[in-house]
């Protein structure tokens, strides 16, 4: 089984928001970054993986299992970290751990103790006195202490300062020393992903725009800038999105080599970073925006 998570033709309406016929996979043994703007559908999918939200149609499989028959087995294998704290604020971390630990068959108390030491988490302090960073670390300590094979994280770094964020990434690198672990992490902070993610899945308005490994992204995607006279029906087909202005156009391509051959030195062609890819992917080919 190659995939830790598999969504097949999933439909879901939640108020004005819709997922239409969405399919995606998350490779086992790797880190997949799940990126997209606010309201793109990341959290909805994260929640479907945990059966907090159920699809109207389609299939969600985790390690080949479906929630309908194997809900508990699936959840045993998942460690989760959400950006909002799921703890009872009045309890201490030890109390909270004592509530959660018996829920998992494979709870490993010594591992939890180690993480608390490493993260410098006070066990006897009410959780309401924890900083956001500490709460996230506490969630992570719990997520990592029951031998979960899949760690899903929904915007874990949103409320954290850069130092904390780096620390988190460092810990996740440690987790990935074990080839049986899979991390699926939704974020809109691109720097979190650059050193960690193996695959990037990009979602916008409930649609998967692309899902690629980081090398493909690095090699294939580029930003092209040039004069408007370069654009015609033939050349436009090489672009995912084009932004026109009076001084020229800026476009995103996922076919670097062809575009280099096509335009040569007539246009400026630069490798695109993740943020640029996201920004331009959302633009479409309309000529609406000017700079």
């Amino acid at each position: 089984m190659e995939h830790a998570i598999e969504l097949q033709n999933v439909h879901k309406s939640l108020g004005a928001f819709q997922l239409k016929d969405l399919s995606m996979q998350v490779k086992k043994g790797f880190v997949t970054g799940f990126v997209g703007g606010n309201g793109a559908g990341k959290s909805t999918i994260m929640k479907m993986i945990l059966n907090l939200i159920q699809p109207d149609a389609g299939v969600v499989r985790v390690f080949g299992l479906e929630h309908q028959q194997n809900e508990k087995a699936i959840k045993e294998k998942i460690g989760f970290v959400f950006n909002d704290s799921l703890f009872y604020e009045d309890l201490t971390l030890r109390d909270m751990k004592n509530l959660i630990a018996p829920s998992y068959q494979n709870w490993d108390d010594s591992s939890f103790q180690q993480y608390c030491d490493r993260f410098a988490l006070p066990l006897k302090q009410p959780i309401k006195l924890f900083s956001d960073g500490m709460k996230m670390k506490a969630s992570l300590a719990i997520a990592l202490s029951h031998h979960a094979e899949l760690i899903i994280m929904d915007e874990p770094t949103t409320n954290l300062d850069p130092v904390f964020r780096r620390e988190l990434i460092e810990h996740l690198h440690d987790v990935m020393l074990d080839e049986n672990k899979t991390i699926f992490m939704a974020t809109h902070i691109m720097s979190d992903l650059s050193s960690l993610a193996d695959y990037i899945t990009f979602i916008d308005k409930g649609e998967i725009i692309f899902s690629k490994d980081v090398h493909q992204l690095e090699e294939k995607f580029a930003i092209v800038r040039g004069g408007l006279e370069l654009l015609d029906r033939d050349t436009e087909q090489y672009f995912l999105s084009i932004k026109r202005s009076n001084s020229g156009f800026e476009a995103l391509t996922s076919d670097y080599e062809t575009v280099v051959k096509l335009f040569g030195r007539e246009a400026v062609i630069e490798k695109a970073n993740l943020e640029e890819i996201m920004y331009y992917s959302r633009g479409g080919k309309s000529s609406g925006s000017t700079h």
Binding site: F30, V31, E170, M176, L177, E179, V214, H215, E218
Partner: protein, 124 residues
């Protein structure tokens, strides 16, 4: 095994790893049977994604520099001395070609290069 990568280099990171491992093999710093760090350990140490080290190792394996045993790790493959020599010659050739190209750009003649080369060769 020391590997230094640069994030600002134009060369992709997996290439940087490949090149450095190759260099270490060619300079005999790494010898047959030496164990390489695991893909995942190296990724962690270098703060890069696993898929990057995976690609570097896969390509090194394809080119015959290393071999992998599932569950044990990756090791330096037996290097045929002739092949090593050939590879070293190939690198020299590459560099000379580069020198020629650069020299032509500046309009240096073959004679100029030869003289320069002779001076440098005798100095070392």
């Amino acid at each position: 095994m020391q590997i230094l990568i640069s994030n600002s280099s134009k060369e992709p990171i997996y290439q940087q790893i490949k090149h450095q491992v190759k260099e270490k093999i060619l300079s005999s710093e790494l010898r047959e049977g030496d164990a390489l760090p695991s893909m995942r350990q190296l990724a962690k140490d270098l703060h890069i994604s696993v898929i990057t080290t995976k690609r570097a190792y896969e390509e090194l394996e394809k080119e015959g520099f290393i071999y992998s045993i599932t569950g044990k790790g990756s090791f330096i493959a037996e290097q045929n001395p002739d092949i090593i020599k050939e590879k070293k010659l190939a690198t020299i050739e590459d560099k000379l070609v580069e020198v020629i190209a650069n020299s032509k750009e500046l309009g240096l003649s073959l004679q100029d290069i030869k003289e320069w080369l002779t001076i440098l060769y005798e100095e070392r």
